[in-house]
């Protein structure tokens, strides 16, 4: 019954792929959205069934659906099977739900494109792969979905395949992803080596990796543990896979370039679902990570650094989608920071709330871009709040949510992360406090750049009216490739009309997501706050998120870190919450005041140029590799050695033949002479033998 959730989008993709070319836009939209709608309804139905289920002895609820045993070689068994437990259940709800909203949005946004059907084929295919990833019940199935979403990301980023920039971005995304996937695959192999199983759950014949891992001792907090081949090594390898898929340092570079794809793609893949797959995988593997403190420390540090680093870049970008892309990288950093601090529940909660508000922000930016006739440069926007009222309101809600405005969804999730980092039971010494401060700083920067984005786009002077002609040159500075190729229609109010609000198919998803961004946080209110502020009857609901996930997620405790005491101190938690609220509000205020006055204020060049990281990678990694490949591998190994030996062999045969052909020149007397000579030789041989007998 879980298979309906998985295969409905596949069916949609197949139908659209085979027949889409001949179908009208309306039918294509209908097929695409209804396949996802079927998935969504099935997901909710399955979730309801899960809720109704009695937890078993370990407190676990689960629905399984096994199709067949895919591979069985010795002890290695990977079933083609799906599993719904609290973690995958919540994930599948928002993946299908947000996916559906984005599909509906895209039916209007992509209207008029050539190969409309191709877009929805790939989008449905993506949903199939993503759902496979989420519902997988073993690491191999997850890897199938993992690779599949990478493929679909490539296909969708390169949707406008006639543009070099889009093709390059698609290749970059796929290749950088693959580097991470290598780490992930190694991790899975090492898991099998250790546990002789790769299944998430106990089944007849194979055990669950996690129940086995739970019995292993906690490894040392030492860098030697990283290479020892134990749980820490596994965890780090899995994390490398996550850095590729979820755009952390050092493999985040593909995500900003991926904005070359259509905006619904950016919303679905690079905000709400695919990039969170890395976090999902780590949360799923929390048992393994819980025994590997060194790995957790590294995850936390990388996450925090990425969050800060990306935020500083985001504040200097002019392309509206790039701001959101770096914002995504930054928020993903928060999720990894939480995982590293042992707070897997809050990390996953942030995944959910982030899906809401980031999808909202991307779709909203799509609405803006649509109104601006596919111009993405904020320098030629401004004053749009008058014209795009719904977009403005919903994006405003999203911005407040991501900035951590009190009581919105982002506030609860981010705040919980910050608190859990501070009171971490896993991170050594004062690392928890340091990372907490870094996280707080990043939150401030987040609020500032998001407010900047809103202010530049929606307030102030309507710069799009005077931007006809220098448009090309101007936007040429900042990522000139970021343009869609509808060049003729670049932003101008001059061609008569004012920007107009988007059609219903685009605004309704915005409204739904805005509502979710605002109230979605109330299912994950931390106990400390709930106790103080809410009537007791509501406690059950507000803490429902964490309680529901509890059987699947363990909270690792590494003795002696002192975090345990702090974690129970509700007073300190309240102080932390108030502090982060103040930071958020002050930062929003700063953003508004600074950029309202000077929207086009120039940001530091090295931030705008993203610390020249792409250029550094080019110089240090890409170009040397290209040089080695061209000069070394191609010109030498391939041309000289391989071609040389093959050609040389041919030449040898040729020469031999040329030599041997003189045996048959057609001169009959020569043949007679050979016969005679042969006879003489044979007789002479016999004489020789007889004489020497």
């Amino acid at each position: 019954m879980l298979r309906v959730i998985v295969f409905a989008p596949l069916l949609g993709a197949i139908i659209l792929g085979l027949f889409g070319k001949r179908l009208s836009e309306r039918i294509i939209a209908l097929i695409a959205c209804s396949s996802i709608a079927v998935s969504t309804i099935a997901a909710f139905a399955a979730f309801a069934k899960l809720l109704a289920q009695q937890p078993d002895s370990a407190g676990v609820r689960r629905i399984s659906d096994t199709l067949f045993t895919w591979i069985q070689v010795g002890a290695f068994r990977a079933d083609f099977a799906f599993m719904l437990d609290p973690l995958s259940g919540v994930m599948i709800l928002f993946v299908t739900g947000v996916g559906l909203l984005i599909h509906i949005f895209a039916t209007a946004y992509m209207s008029g494109e050539d190969s409309y059907y191709r877009f929805f084929t790939y989008l449905n295919l993506f949903m199939f792969m993503m759902i496979t990833l989420v519902l997988a019940d073993n690491y191999l199935m997850m890897f199938v979905g993992w690779e599949g979403v990478g493929l679909c990301s490539y296909l969708l980023i390169g949707y406008y395949f006639l543009r070099d920039y889009a093709n390059d971005a698609a290749k970059k995304a796929f290749i950088v992803n693959r580097i991470g996937d290598f780490g992930f695959a190694l991790g899975v192999m090492l898991i099998f080596y250790h546990f002789n199983t790769i299944s998430f759950i106990d089944k007849t014949g194979i055990a669950s990796v996690f129940t086995l891992a739970a019995n292993k001792p906690i490894e040392d907090l030492a860098s030697t543990a990283l290479f020892a081949g134990g749980l820490t090594t596994i965890a780090i390898l899995l994390f490398i896979g996550a850095t590729g898929k979820s755009a952390q340092i050092p493999l985040y570079v593909w995500l900003p370039d991926a904005m070359a794809g259509p905006t619904p793609v950016s919303a679905l893949i690079h905000a709400a679902t695919m990039v969170t797959a890395g976090v999902y995988m780590i949360v799923r593997s929390n048992m393994i990570f819980g025994k590997a403190p060194m790995a957790l420390t590294i995850v936390a540090v990388v996450g925090a650094l990425t969050a800060f680093f990306a935020a500083t870049i985001g504040i200097a970008q002019w392309n509206i989608k790039k701001v959101l892309a770096y914002s995504t990288v930054s928020q993903l950093g928060y999720m990894f920071l939480a995982c590293g601090a042992g707070a897997f529940g809050p990390a996953f909660f942030h995944v959910v709330t982030h899906a809401f508000f980031k999808a909202l922000l991307f779709l909203g930016s799509g609405s803006v871009i649509h109104a601006m006739h596919h111009n993405e440069d904020m320098r030629t926007m401004g004053g749009l709040s008058k014209y795009l009222k719904i977009t403005f309101a919903t994006m405003g809600a999203g911005t407040l949510a991501i900035a951590g405005f009190p009581l919105l969804s982002g506030f609860f999730s981010k705040d919980e992360i910050l608190w859990k980092v501070r009171s971490s039971t896993v991170l050594p010494g004062s690392l928890g406090t340091i990372l907490w401060l870094l996280g707080l700083l990043t939150a401030a920067i987040t609020a500032i750049y998001m407010t900047r984005m809103m202010v530049i786009t929606f307030f102030g002077e309507e710069r799009f009216r005077n931007a006809h002609h220098d448009d090309h040159g101007h936007s040429g500075h900042d990522d000139h490739k970021a343009h869609d190729d509808k060049h003729g229609h670049d932003s101008h109010g001059g061609h008569g009309g004012n920007p107009h609000e988007s059609p219903l198919a685009m605004t309704i998803p915005l409204i739904v997501l805005a509502i979710l961004s605002v109230v979605g946080g109330f299912m994950g209110v931390p106990e400390g706050l709930a106790e103080k502020f809410l009537p007791h009857s509501l406690h059950h609901y507000t803490h429902s998120f964490y309680a529901f996930l509890q059987p699947v997620i363990s909270v690792p405790v590494i003795a002696g870190n002192g975090g345990e005491a702090l974690a129970k101190d509700h007073g300190a938690e309240l102080v932390s919450t108030i502090l982060s609220s103040i930071v958020a509000l002050v930062a929003i205020g700063i953003g508004y005041l600074v950029f309202r006055g000077k929207p086009l204020m120039q940001m530091p060049a090295f931030l705008e140029n993203k610390y020249f990281i792409d250029e550094i990678y080019d110089a240090v990694i890409v170009n040397p590799l290209k040089a080695i490949s061209t000069t070394g591998l191609w010109k030498f190994v391939d041309v000289v050695i391989i071609d040389g030996s093959v050609n040389g062999l041919a030449k040898l045969v040729n020469l031999t033949g040329s030599g041997l052909r003189y045996l048959q020149p057609g001169i009959t007397r020569l043949y007679a002479a050979f016969i005679f000579g042969g006879a003489v030789f044979v007789i002479g041989w016999f004489f020789y033998v007889v004489v020497n007998r």
């Binding site: 052909r661 048959q664 020149p665 009959t668 007397r669 020569l670 043949y671 007679a672 005679f676």
Partner: protein, 100 residues
Amino acid sequence: MVPLSWYLALSAVLFTIGAVGVFVKRNVISIFMCIELMLNAVNLTLIAFSSYYREISGQLFVFIVMTVAAAEAGVGLALVIAVFRNRQSLDADDANLLKL
């Protein structure tokens, strides 16, 4: 008595002349004559041994060899005529189509 070795020497010389002639001579008729020469040299050897050791089988074998030589000359000349009809030449070098 003429010593046996002289007969054998003569026979060897005749054989060698015939053999060399087979692949030195251009004219196919000459080649055939040289073949006959070789055959007769062998005949001479056989007679010499037969006379020396007073064995009749040597002479018997000579009869057979002569018969075969005659038959072979007949067939060979027929072949020469066939080739001549095609190549219009009695030069052995002109029958050079069997080549690479």
